[in-house]
Amino acid sequence: MKHTISVLVENHFGVLARVVGLFSARGFNIDSLAVGETHDPTVSRMTIVVHGDDRIVEQIIKQLNKLIDVIKVEDLSQGEIIDRELVLVKVKADTAVRNEVMQIVNTFRAKIVDVNPESLAIEVTGGESKIDAMLELLAPFQILETVRTGLIALARRKALEAPPQYPQQKKDTQKAKTRAGASGKRVNVTK
C-alpha cells in the first residue's frame, strides 16, 4: 500500500542526507520526495511517498522519529488528505495534432507554458490519478520530456501540531501571536 508521510525537520544542513541515508541504509524505497521550508523558517517539511506493507511503513516512521533532527512524523494516509503534484511535460505536437493536444490540456485544466513549432510544454497540477490519466492520454503524441515535483500533501482537517519553539524564537514571534499551545519538552540537565 502507498503511504504519504509528512516529516517536519529542523532546517539544518545535512538533514536531508540523514533522512535519505536512513532510507537507503535500511533498504526502504522512496517513490517520491519533496522538501521545502515551512512558514516557520527554522522548520522544513518533507513529503515522502513510500509503498510497502504496514510493518515496513511502521518501521520507517519509527526510524525517522529516532533521527535527532526530526521534529514530527505523520502518516497522512491515515486520514483524508489534500495531495498535489506539479508536472511539466513536453509533448511532440506539430500543427496537425496541436488542437487535439490542446483539448486534452483544457479538459484537465492544465496550461500550455511554452509553444514550439514541433512541441508544446504543458504544466499540470493535481493528485496522482489526474496526472496519470493525463499522461496516459498524451502518450500517443509522444512525450519528449517530463519532470515531476513529487507529491506534496497536507491533512485535510487536522493540522500537524506546530513544533515547539526555542526561547529565542518565541521572543521573535510573540508579537506575531503565532503558535499558541506549542508544546515542547524542556530538559534540565544538572549535575
Binding site: 545535512g14 535527532i68 515542547g184 540537565v189
Partner: protein, 563 residues
C-alpha cells in the same frame, strides 16, 4: 575572559565530568591538544585511533559513564569508524571529537580532509559539524546528553581547526533543550502503566513463561529489579550475550545464554514457552534463529526504551516502551508467585538441564579453552570484568565464565568486532581500577589491536590478557569444517603467528607461556597476583568446536551438539 574554541571544548569536557580522554593528535586538532596540556583531564595516548574508540567504549560499558575520544582529521577520524559502529550497534555512550580542516577549506579536498560527518552518519546516534565557535558549548552539551539518554549511542563532533582557534567569551549552557529529541518516549506514563498492567495479567495467566533479557537491562541498571521479578515469580530467565551478568548465572532460575551458542535448555525454554518476556533485548538473528519458527507458541511481551525495536523483527503482543528499571519496578508490584502453576514447566526445564548440560571433553592432554575459561571464572570468583575479542573464545567465555555481576561482560555483540577485546579492557580497567579486569582474546582478534600493548605498558594498566592461541581464526575454521567440507580457506594463523610472549616482553609487559594443562592454574594465579599488565599465551586445542550450535537459518531448537 575570552577563550579559544579549543579551550572552550576542554572546559566543556571538564564540566561534563569527563575523567579520561583517549586519543592521538594531528594537525587539525593541535590547538585542542595544546589546550588539553593545561587541563586536569587525564589523557591516554593510544597507538591507533580504533583503540581509542574501543577504550572509550570499554570504559563506558564498565562504568556506565560516557567515554570520550579525541583524534585528528582525515585518517585519524576514519580510523574511528569501526569503533563508532561497534558502540552504535551495542548502544554505548561515546563522544568522539575529530579535528577537521578549516571551515573555508571544507569541500576542497584539502590535506587530511574527509567528510567525517557523512562517513559516520550511519554509525552514530547523531553527529555535528561545528561551524561557529558560538555553537560549540551547546553542541558539546547536547552531544553528551544525546549519547547518554534514551537508547544510548555514540555521538561525533567534527571540529574544524579555525573554529578551535576562534575566540569568544565562554558561557556554559546550564540548560539545554532539543525540541526534536525526546529521550523518554514513555513519559506518557498512563499509556505504559496500562501496558504494564496488561503484561502483568498475561504473566499471571501464563503456564510456561520465560524471561529473555538483553543489554538494555544492563544499561538501565535494572539488575535488582530483575532478581526481584525472578525470585518473586519463579520465572526462568535467559540472557543474550550483552545481557550476561545482569542476572547471576549461578542462580537456579538461570538458563544461561540463549541463541546460536546458547544452552539447549535456554533455547528449548524459549521455543516451548507460552509467554516470552523480552526485556531490553532486540531479537537479533543470532538470538532468534529462523525467525518464522521462533517461539511459535508464545505471546510476546517486549519492554524497551526504543520504540523502533518493538515489532521490528517479531510481532509483539504487549509492547511496553520506556526505561526498563521503572517498568520492572511497576511490574514487580503486580505479579506474584507462579511456581504452583509452573510445576510441569519447571520440571520439564530441570529435565532438559539434566539431559543437556553444557559440557566439554575433559580427557586428553590438550588444553581446552573451555577449561581455561572455567578456571579463570573460578579463580576470580566469577566477579571479574571480562572483555573478549570475537570468535570461539568469545562464545566459550559467554558459556563458561559464569557471570554474576552486571557490567562484567564486555564484548562486541552487535557488530562482532575482532580487536575489540584488548583495548576495551584497558578502558574498563581505567574506569574500574580496583577490580580485576581480564581480556580473553583469540590469537586472530588480539593481533588486530595489539599495538595497544604500548598503551597498557606506558600507563601501567593492570589488565590480564589471555590469548587463546588455537593457531586459527577458530570460528571461521569451525564454519568451514561444518559447512564447507573442511576447505580451510584463509583461516590458518599458526605458521605466521608471532611469538606472543616475546612480543609482550618487547613492550615491557610480563608474559607467561602455557603449554600444558598443568600450567593453566598456576599461570592464572600468577597473572592475577601481578600488579601491572600481564599477557598469558595459552596454546590451546587447534581444532575444537563451540557447541551447542544452532546453525544459521535453523530454528532455535535444532541444536547441534558434540557426539
Amino acid at each position: 575572559m575570552k577563550l579559544t574554541g579549543a579551550q572552550i571544548l576542554i572546559k566543556c569536557l571538564e564540566k561534563e565530568g569527563v575523567e579520561y580522554v583517549f586519543g592521538l593528535p594531528g594537525g587539525a586538532i593541535l590547538p585542542t591538544f595544546d589546550a588539553l596540556y593545561d587541563s586536569k583531564l587525564k589523557f591516554i595516548l593510544v597507538r591507533h585511533e580504533q583503540g581509542a574508540t574501543h577504550m572509550a567504549d570499554g570504559y563506558a560499558r564498565a562504568t556506565g559513564r560516557t567515554g570520550v575520544c579525541l583524534v585528528t582529521s582525515g585518517p585519524g577520524a576514519t580510523n574511528t569508524v569501526t569503533g563508532l559502529a561497534t558502540a552504535f550497534m551495542d548502544s554505548v555512550p561515546v563522544v568522539c571529537i575529530t579535528g577537521q580542516v578549516a571551515t573555508h577549506a571544507i569541500g576542497s579536498d584539502a590535506f587530511q580532509e574527509a567528510d567525517v560527518v557523512g562517513i559516520t552518519r550511519p554509525v552514530t546516534k547523531h553527529n555535528y559539524l561545528v561551524k561557529d565557535v558560538k555553537d560549540l558549548a551547546r553542541i558539546v552539551r547536547e552531544a553528551f546528553y544525546i549519547a547518554k539518554t534514551g537508547r544510548p549511542g555514540p555521538v561525533l563532533i567534527d571540529f574544524p581547526v579555525d573554529v578551535s582557534r576562534a575566540e569568544m567569551e565562554f558561557e556554559w549552557p546550564e540548560n539545554i533543550y532539543i525540541r526534536s529529541y525526546d529521550p523518554s518516549p514513555a513519559d506518557s506514563t498512563d499509556l505504559s502503566k496500562a501496558q504494564i498492567e496488561k503484561a502483568a495479567k498475561a504473566i499471571m495467566e501464563s503456564k510456561r513463561p520465560c524471561l529473555y533479557v538483553g543489554g538494555g537491562a544492563v544499561v538501565s541498571g535494572a539488575h535488582t529489579e530483575i532478581l526481584e521479578l525472578v525470585e518473586k515469580t519463579g520465572i526462568p530467565i535467559t540472557t543474550t550475550v550483552l545481557g550476561l551478568g545482569v542476572f547471576p548465572e549461578t542462580h537456579p532460575s538461570s538458563l544461561r545464554m540463549l541463541g546460536m551458542h546458547g544452552t539447549h535448555y535456554a533455547n528449548y525454554s524459549v521455543q516451548n514457552s507460552d509467554l516470552l518476556i523480552a526485556v531490553g533485548a532486540r531479537f537479533d538473528d543470532r538470538v532468534t534463529g529462523k525467525i518464522d519458527k521462533f517461539a511459535p507458541h508464545a505471546k510476546i511481551i517486549h519492554a524497551d526504551i526504543d520504540p523502533a525495536s518493538i515489532s521490528k523483527v517479531v510481532k509483539v503482543h504487549y509492547p511496553i516502551i520506556g526505561d526498563i528499571k521503572p517498568i520492572l519496578k511497576a511490574l514487580n508490584g503486580l505479579v506474584g508467585d507462579l511456581r504452583p502453576q509452573m510445576k510441569d514447566w519447571l520440571a520439564q526445564i530441570e529435565a532438559w538441564k539434566k539431559k543437556h548440560p553444557l559440557k566439554y571433553d575433559q580427557s586428553g592432554d590438550q588444553i581446552r579453552q573451555e577449561y581455561v575459561i572455567e578456571k579463570i571464572g573460578e579463580l576470580t570468583k566469577h566477579k571479574a570484568v571480562v572483555t573478549t575479542g570475537v570468535g570461539q573464545h568469545q562464545m566459550w567465555t559467554a558459556q563458561w565464565y559464569g557471570f554474576t555481576k552486571p557490567r562484567s561482560m564486555i564484548t562486541s555483540g552487535g557488530l562482532g568486532t575482532m580487536g575489540y577485546g584488548f583495548p576495551s579492557s584497558i578502558g574498563a580497567k581505567l574506569g574500574r581500577p580496583d577490580e580485576t579486569v581480564i581480556c580473553i582474546d583469540g590469537d586472530g582478534s588480539f593481533q588486530m589491536t595489539l599495538c595497544e600493548l604500548a598503551t597498557a605498558a606506558y600507563y601501567k594498566v593492570g589488565v590480564k590478557v589471555f590469548i587463546m592461541d588455537n593457531a586459527h581464526h577458530g570460528m571461521v575454521r569451525q564454519w568451514q569444517e561444518l559447512f564447507y567440507r573442511r576447505r580451510y580457506s584463509g583461516c590458518e594463523l599458526g605458521p605466521s603467528n608471532p611469538n606472543f610472549t616475546k612480543v609482550a616482553e618487547g613492550f615491557g609487559i610480563l608474559a607467561i607461556r602455557v603449554e600444558e594443562k598443568g600450567q593453566v592454574i598456576p599461570a592464572i594465579e600468577k597473572a592475577l597476583a601481578h600488579e601491572g599488565p600481564v599477557l598469558v599465551h595459552v596454546l590451546v586445542a587447534k581444532e575444537d568446536n563451540v557447541y551447542p550450535m544452532v546453525p544459521a537459518g535453523h530454528a532455535l531448537d535444532q541444536v547441534m551438539d558434540m557426539a
